[in-house]
């Protein structure tokens, strides 16, 4: 099988995006907690964010004109354009140094750490592995995440 990933794609491995700063609001934590049917009061009051609140917290904010027909962002903002366009979340590994709390000002840096191909039951798959390092403004680590997306 010919490789779908080219040297141009693989050149993105190691590439870091510019850091993104996020200010966490209690209201955003409460919205997330309601949507995910949390049961602990600390989450429903927004005193602390559930661990998976991190998902897409540092995702790029694009205008509607910059979205593809499937709703996902077009272009290269978070990596190279892939020959397979249907993308799904593959999984997450999370190291939590401390919980995220309302009022936190967080600085997150994405980096592409690996890209590889596999043959799935319904065709080829491209896996893109990104790291996310989140610190507070004083450089203290808050969490580290390794996230895999799958293009099919």
């Amino acid at each position: 099988m010919a490789s779908l990933l080219t040297d141009e794609h693989r050149a993105w491995i190691g590439h870091a995006e510019p850091p993104i700063t996020v200010e966490v609001s209690r209201r955003d934590i409460v919205k997330y907690s309601i949507a995910t049917e949390q049961v602990l009061d600390k989450y429903l009051r927004g005193d602390e964010a559930p661990p998976m609140f991190i998902f897409n917290l540092f995702g790029a904010l694009r205008s509607i004109a910059e979205l593809r027909a499937d709703g996902l962002p077009r272009g290269r903002g978070a990596g190279p354009k892939l020959p397979l366009q249907r993308v799904m979340a593959g999984g997450t590994e999370l190291i939590q140094h401390r919980p995220i709390r309302p009022g936190d000002r967080l600085i997150g840096t994405h980096r592409i750490v690996d890209m590889y191909e596999k043959q799935g039951s319904q065709g080829p798959l491209i896996f893109t592995v990104r790291s996310l390092k989140v610190d507070d403004p004083y450089g203290e680590p808050v969490l580290e995440e390794i996230q895999t997306s799958i293009a099919r």
Binding site: P51, D70, M88, A89, L94, Q96
Partner: protein, 138 residues
């Protein structure tokens, strides 16, 4: 109820919870995480263009259920230090899924407990496996 390392055993089950997402709950989730991917809210697009059998339940939402499995069991008895999940198979609107887990290992010296986690479908197939390590206070 407070968990204590000396009172836990390998194999102990974490409480299970069933989840039956609806169009409304998936809309709220995708709004909360700012995810505009149409496979999570646009049925004609999802079935006719992307050829899924129905609206797709978000993988990270299932990851959240697994994290909740841990945090609900743990309460204030310790801290979640590491967590992982893998979205192995797609699940669809209309399915009822069950999150659960069990204790895989206990280190009484460090008070670290390793947990095995899963989201299963109605016939017991694991759709999203996961794991976590927590450190208990006592």
């Amino acid at each position: 109820m407070s968990l204590k390392i000396a009172e836990l055993e390998v194999g102990d089950a974490l409480p299970e919870r069933t989840h039956t997402p609806t169009n409304v709950s998936l809309f709220l989730y995708n709004a909360a995480v700012w995810n505009p991917h149409r496979i999570h809210y646009d049925a004609p697009y999802t079935t006719e263009v992307e050829r899924h059998p129905a609206i797709v339940i978000d993988g990270p939402l299932q990851g959240d259920w697994l994290a909740q499995c841990v945090t609900n069991w743990l309460g204030d008895s310790g801290a979640l230090e590491r967590f992982n999940y893998s979205n192995r198979r797609a699940t669809y609107l209309g399915e009822t899924l069950t999150s659960g887990g069990r204790i895989g290992a206990i280190d009484p010296i460090t008070r670290i407990v390793t947990l095995e986690l899963w989201v299963k479908n109605a016939v017991g197939e694991v759709m999203s496996p996961g794991g976590a390590t927590v450190r208990l206070n006592a």
